[in-house]
Amino acid sequence: MSLIDVENLTLQFKTDEGLITAVDNVSFSIAPGEVMGLVGESGSGKSVTAKSLMKLNPGNAVYAPESRITLHLDNGPVDVMSLKRPRDMEVVRGGSVSMIFQEPMASFAPAMTIGSQMVEQLLIHTDMSKKQARELSIEMLDRVGISDASTRFGQYAFEMSGGMRQRAMIAMALSTKPKLLIADEPTTALDVTIQAQVIDLMKDLVTDFGMGIIFITHDLGVVAQTADKVAVMYLGKMIEQGPVREVIRNPYHPYTQGLIDALPQLDDLDKPLMPVPGDIPSPLERPEGCVFHTRCGKIIGDVCRTVAPGWSDTGENHRTACHLCHEGQSA
């Protein structure tokens, strides 16, 4: 049984320039213990999609009525879309779903110690006493590899290095034992050496805690190392999804292929770097038809410019939204 089901999620932002579609008819589900990599360029809507799961988007966000997000908890399913009051949201926010943000400096309150922030959330979400919460927090800090955890517990975010802050962030997110963890570019701001440490840590934690993870990143190498399955987004649309080996070894969609070709690889230094031509269009000027057609090198005529492609099976559990699938030709 899946942990979370997202069906037909569509989200628009009301702005002065008009309605901007940030997420367009996105569906996926995650099983307990499964890691889904959500990949795309900036502006592809990956963060907005993840934040929707906790309804964390700003007030000008409009969810389409057919959007469904169902979280399967121990005591029955929760329809996230129907939660209105902040009190009801507590079940989801920080309770069964936790989030790790990209910039650990910006996501800790600067004037509170790391420890008091960790204890605060535990007091809200569990019925622990202050003493228990403190003990658990120190234990979690220790668990994520922070040495001298009880001293660190009393320190402020600015006293820690980037890698340590991100570890503390992970410890904090996991201390409430969430069912689902959303990690929004958790390693992007870190050095490669520290990134490797954080990735290893997260892999260990998945095995220990058995939670589902949505791992948002633009780095396909990080996805290959962490995820079980991958979903690729472009301009708010999900364009390809499938098991990680399938998608990385046999990418079907021209955009996924482009992303992989653009990646500098160490085993072949002579291979020229192939950028995906053009720039992401402004969200105000969303292309008609297939959203990728303005940059696609394999366009097959007017159908790409006018008709939005539906899903086609391109392998086992591997789906792609591209007109090339119907042509019966391999892209």
Partner: protein, 332 residues
């Protein structure tokens, strides 16, 4: 100095005073005794973690960080400058010849200036053109080289995507026809699909304008693809320096090796068998004794804790700062 090198540094150090009070004043050495030669026309890479001093090194070569020890020389045809002692008109001329491309194209462009004014500003500051027409002509020329539409020149930066902004930023750096360009993490803020485009652009501009780049990056795979020569920095010192292919084929320093093995592989079944680095880069105010890297080095012995290794040449153009480079077999 040899005529092939555009820039040569000898024991270059950059220090910043820290601690306000008179008695606990100390000097933080961000760059510590760096000796490097940057050949003319090369794409010279500097890699390292944050806090390794790579940015400060780049800035020192642009005369934008105080050189507190050693020397740096710039030599190009009939001009030769000692970068520690530039003043007046010499400094102005050096500013024209040496330019910087910043990391974040969203922060580097003034939102209140049109693209034309942004690109033209260096010309006006250095006083390179005599008339407005001449400036416009030069701006159009460089915009063309950087694949910007002439249409774009009248707009403001907010109308552009990250990749386009970085092209504007490059056009601004190159408009004064510099000889030496420091590109400080110039693709780090960009998406992969755009990153390749900017790297290709930098390469083609190098051929067209005869530039020499100092390319600062933390991303080894980007460096591997663009640079001819790479220097690896750690805590303000050069740990290893070699032609790119040689460095990647046979790294000699354990730190270089560790940096390579930290790169996430695109193959889901390859989990990086090589050693991973524990811990983090120490603070430069509290440097380790002996070899700077010994606190994280899996091969450290007593000697490494006691004595600082010197940079040694192990092959032509390949030098390494490690006590044990002769005995360690790092290449796989």
């Amino acid at each position: 100095m040899s005529t092939e090198n555009l820039i040569e540094t000898k024991d270059l150090s950059v220090g910043f005073p820290v601690g306000g009070k008179i008695f606990n004043k100390s000097v933080l050495k961000a760059v510590n005794d760096v000796s490097l030669s940057i050949p003319r026309g090369s794409f010279f890479g500097v890699v390292g973690e944050s806090g390794s001093g790579k940015t400060t090194f780049g800035r020192a070569l642009l005369n934008a960080a105080p050189i507190t020890g050693g020397s740096a020389h710039y030599e190009d045809g009939d001009v030769s400058y000692d970068l520690g002692k530039l003043t007046g008109s010499e400094l102005k001329e050096y500013r024209r010849r040496a330019q910087l491309i910043f990391q974040d194209p969203y922060a580097a462009l003034s939102p209140r200036m049109t693209v034309r004014d942004i690109i033209a500003e260096p010309l006006e500051v250095v006083g390179l053109c005599n008339s407005r027409e001449e400036v416009d002509e030069r701006v159009r020329e460089i915009a063309n080289l950087c694949r910007l539409n002439l249409e774009h020149l009248r707009r403001f930066p907010h109308a552009f995507s990250g990749g386009q902004r970085q092209r504007i930023s490059i056009a601004r750096a190159l408009v004064s026809k510099p000889r030496f360009v420091v590109a400080d993490e110039s693709v780090a803020a960009l998406d992969v699909s755009i990153q390749a485009d900017i790297l290709n652009l930098l390469k083609s501009l190098q051929d067209e304008m005869g530039l020499t780049y100092l390319f600062i990056s933390h991303d080894l795979s980007v460096v591997a693809h663009t640079c001819d020569h790479v220097a690896v920095m750690y805590l303000g010192q050069i740990m290893e320096s070699a032609p790119t292919r040689q460095l990647f084929r046979s790294p000699r320093h354990p730190y270089t090796k560790a940096l390579f093995s930290a790169i996430p592989s695109l193959d889901p079944d390859d989990h990086g068998k090589a050693q991973k680095l524990e811990g983090e880069i120490p603070s430069p105010t509290n440097r380790p004794t002996g070899c700077q890297f010994h606190t994280r080095c899996p091969f450290a012995i007593d000697l490494c804790k006691r004595e600082e290794p010197r940079m040694e040449t192990c092959e032509a153009e390949h030098s390494v700062t490690c006590h044990r480079w002769r005995e360690l077999q790092l290449a796989d």
